[in-house]
């Protein structure tokens, strides 16, 4: 990818101050976003954050209350869905149950009044790509979940769209198939090199597939960035908590200068860029906490529960004051409930959030 060429071209999709309300309920509160050509963008957020609505606004299935949608530099607010050159994979796949797979694929092309030969060519290409050639004569009802998913993607591919839109496409699949399709969609993106916008509530899908993640909450964008940037440098407590499983530990406390005293008793120096005074929250990811079986360490916690997964071990423990702590240990260790455990917190893994939940800058 060449950054200079992008700068010269208009972004594939540009949203400026998009707002949407249904009746008196505001769902989207002014969203600005630029997406470059060829990017794989994931909208992620809890349910009700407006991610699907935003996708439908881009698709043209709903009209924004205010704001502009630009595709390749052209304003498309009034352009109907079918003429925006986008295609969409729906959560329920929305395959036409009364048509065969082949007819499902060709329906949209026929509506565009394409030559028969061209339609055939595109269907064959897409079918070969997705390995559904042998299914073309069947009806959606006769297909398995994974096959339906492929047909739905195929229907999007044959349109040769500028942008692919995916609306939680994997949520109806079982875990194994979901993993497989995740990889396939990623492969597809590297083959087709189209712009793709993918909506999900599953942070693993977001982390694994995205070039850039857009985290949404309550109709606002919380943060945009590459997956690891978001993971390592969350802008606020919400993003920090949303990405990563098990969730980041949050420990309440107060900051005075660059000394933080937590409710659980721990007192530490933290490299705060701008020392100050006030209530803060210390965040630390479970995998960054070190376990000392001999009881030594920064702090001592009591094991309440644990999960031995083989490769990793999750420990759920409490501080003496009742604050809970989740620890991820990369090895198998012998554990008992009620056992005392020494844990240490490397300060380079600290995240600090101020009273407004925004991330505070640390110097490392």
């Amino acid at each position: 990818m060449n950054d200079t060429s992008h700068a010269a071209k208009a972004p594939a999709l540009q949203l400026s101050d998009i707002r949407k309300s249904f009746g008196t309920v505001d769902v989207i509160h002014g969203i600005d976003l630029e997406i470059q050509e060829g990017e794989f963008i994931v909208f992620v957020g809890p349910s009700g954050c407006g991610k699907s609505t935003l996708l439908r606004l881009i698709a043209g299935l709903d009209d924004p209350t205010s704001g502009d949608i630009n595709l390749n530099g052209k304003r498309v607010n009034t352009v109907p869905a079918s003429e925006r050159g986008l295609s969409m994979v729906f959560q329920s796949y929305a395959l036409y149950p009364h048509m065969t797979v082949g007819q499902n694929l060709s329906f949209g092309l026929e509506n565009l009044r394409m030559e028969r030969a061209e339609i055939e060519r595109r269907i064959n290409d897409a079918a070969t790509l997705l390995q559904i050639d042998h299914l073309l004569g069947r009806r959606p009802g006769q297909l398995s979940g994974g096959q339906r998913q492929r047909v739905a993607i195929g229907r999007a591919i044959v349109r040769e769209p500028v942008i692919f839109l995916f609306d939680e496409p994997l949520s109806n699949l079982d875990a194994e198939l979901r993993l497989q399709m995740r990889v396939e969609i990623s492969d597809l993106h590297s083959k087709l090199k189209n712009t793709m916008i993918y909506v999900t509530h599953d942070q693993i899908e977001a982390m694994t597939m995205a070039d850039r993640i857009v985290v949404l909450r309550g109709g606002n964008i919380e943060q945009i960035g590459r997956p690891l940037d978001l993971y390592n440098h969350p802008k606020n407590k919400f993003v920090a908590g949303f990405l990563g499983a098990p969730q980041m530990n949050f420990l309440e406390g107060t900051l005075e200068g660059n000394v933080i005293s937590l409710n659980c008793g721990m007192v530490r120096d933290v490299p705060v860029a701008q020392p100050g005074t006030g209530k803060v929250t210390l965040g630390i990811r479970p995998e960054n906490i070190h376990v000392n079986l001999d009881g030594h360490g920064d702090e001592t916690v009591t094991v309440q529960n644990y999960e031995q997964l083989g490769a990793v071990t999750y420990i759920y423990a409490t501080f003496p004051n009742g604050d809970t702590l989740t620890v991820q240990h990369a090895h198998q260790i012998p554990l008992q409930r009620g056992q005392e455990l020494g844990v240490s917190f490397p300060s380079e893994a600290f995240h600090l959030f101020g009273e407004d939940d925004a991330s505070m800058e640390l110097t490392r």
Binding site: S82, F90, Y96
Partner: protein
């Protein structure tokens, strides 16, 4: 345990233990069903069997099931005569015809010897019969033979088929359109339209007869088949039946079609219509029954012009004009009930389950 009450409270397929032995409950249930079906079928079948009897058998109210017809033969120099079987006192029988008026002692002559007239008691004569299906009951009115030129069968049939087919097609189309609008669009006035349609459900058709007649007259539809077709083409029942069904079609399908560059009309035509086929066919069957059997409104609109009578009207007029020609009336009654019966036999399972699950009248 009280088994009669068991059947009162039993649901479908309740209890595999029942199959084991036939109890009094089953006997009562089956006898109820059997007598019920007897009451329903016997009059219809009796009409059918009567309709294939000869005119003399029908006029004499012959209650035998088989279509027995007295044989008549051409007797030389005498003409066409009914043939009787004469049983002599010694038990021998002879085919004769009546050579004079029927009296206590009647003049008869053998069929093979027309001149040899002799006297026999009336009680020793029995009609000489054969079993014969009286096809002429059907063919005479249909082909206008034997002076039966008042029953324009093919005209009536054409009118009935025309009204039924066109009205059903129009009904399906416009009701599906309205149902589509009410089920799949959010728009200002949707509630108002829904309430308006419910209101028409509550207006019985017979209380607007008089003014409907004025309206139809003003439109110039009076006396024409369109005057029967159009006023009843929009049925609230149909709209609701289809709307309920269309609500179950996922909106995502429509959105997928919109992404597929289909216009709203094409979505209706290519997605909604094929997916609503079960409900549409129930409405189609209901519409066919309504239209084929419709009586009062066609009677008002079409009665003045025999050329536009439907089969039902034609049959009524026919029955009124020929009060004695029962054999023709019965035959034409059977002709009228045959199409609907065939449809029913063919589609009975579909009709009964379809109406039970999707529709109220």
């Amino acid at each position: 345990m009280s088994r009669l009450t068991t059947f009162l409270s039993r649901t479908a397929g309740n209890g595999p233990d029942r199959a084991e032995r036939i109890g009094i409950t089953d006997v009562l249930a089956y006898s109820y069903l059997f007598f019920g079906v007897l009451i329903i079928l016997v009059p219809v079948l009796w009409t059918f069997f009567s309709s294939i009897k000869s005119d003399t058998a029908v006029e004499s109210f012959d209650t035998r099931l088989a279509p027995m017809d007295q044989i008549s033969e051409m007797i030389e120099d005498v003409g066409e005569k009914d043939v009787w079987i004469y049983t002599a006192e010694d038990g021998s029988t002879q085919l004769v015809y009546k050579a004079g008026p029927t009296r206590k002692v009647t003049d008869v002559a053998p069929v093979d010897d027309p001149g040899a007239v002799f006297k026999v008691p009336r009680t020793s004569l029995a009609p000489h019969e054969e079993m014969r299906v009286a096809v002429e009951n059907y063919l005479d009115p249909i082909l206008k033979r034997n002076g039966q030129d008042n029953f324009h069968f093919f005209t009536y049939l054409y009118n009935s088929v025309f009204v039924t087919v066109i009205a059903t097609m129009v009904t399906l189309l416009i009701n599906a359109m309205a149902a589509f609008a009410l089920s799949k669009y959010r728009f200002r006035g949707r509630l108002t339209f829904t309430i308006l349609i419910v209101a028409t459900l509550l207006i019985p058709s017979s209380i607007i007869l008089v003014s409907l007649f004025f309206v139809v007259w003003s439109f110039g539809l009076f006396g024409s088949l369109w005057g029967v077709i159009i006023p009843a083409a929009a049925t609230p029942t149909g709209v609701f039946l289809l709307r309920q069904y269309m609500l179950t079609i996922p909106d995502e399908l429509l959105e997928a079609a919109r992404m597929d560059a289909a216009s709203e009309w094409r979505i209706f035509w290519r997605i909604i219509i094929p997916l609503s086929l079960p409900a549409l066919s129930v409405l189609a069957i209901l519409s066919v029954i309504w239209r084929w059997n419709d009586f009062l409104w066609p009677l008002i609109v079409l009665i003045s012009d025999p050329a536009s009578h439907t089969l039902q009207l034609g049959l009524t007029q026919f029955a009124g004009e020929f009060d004695t020609n029962f054999h023709y009336i019965l035959a034409m009654t059977v002709v009228t009930l045959i199409p609907i019966t065939l449809v029913f036999v063919w589609l009975q399972r579909f009709i009964t389950t379809g109406i039970a699950t999707t529709g109220l009248k």
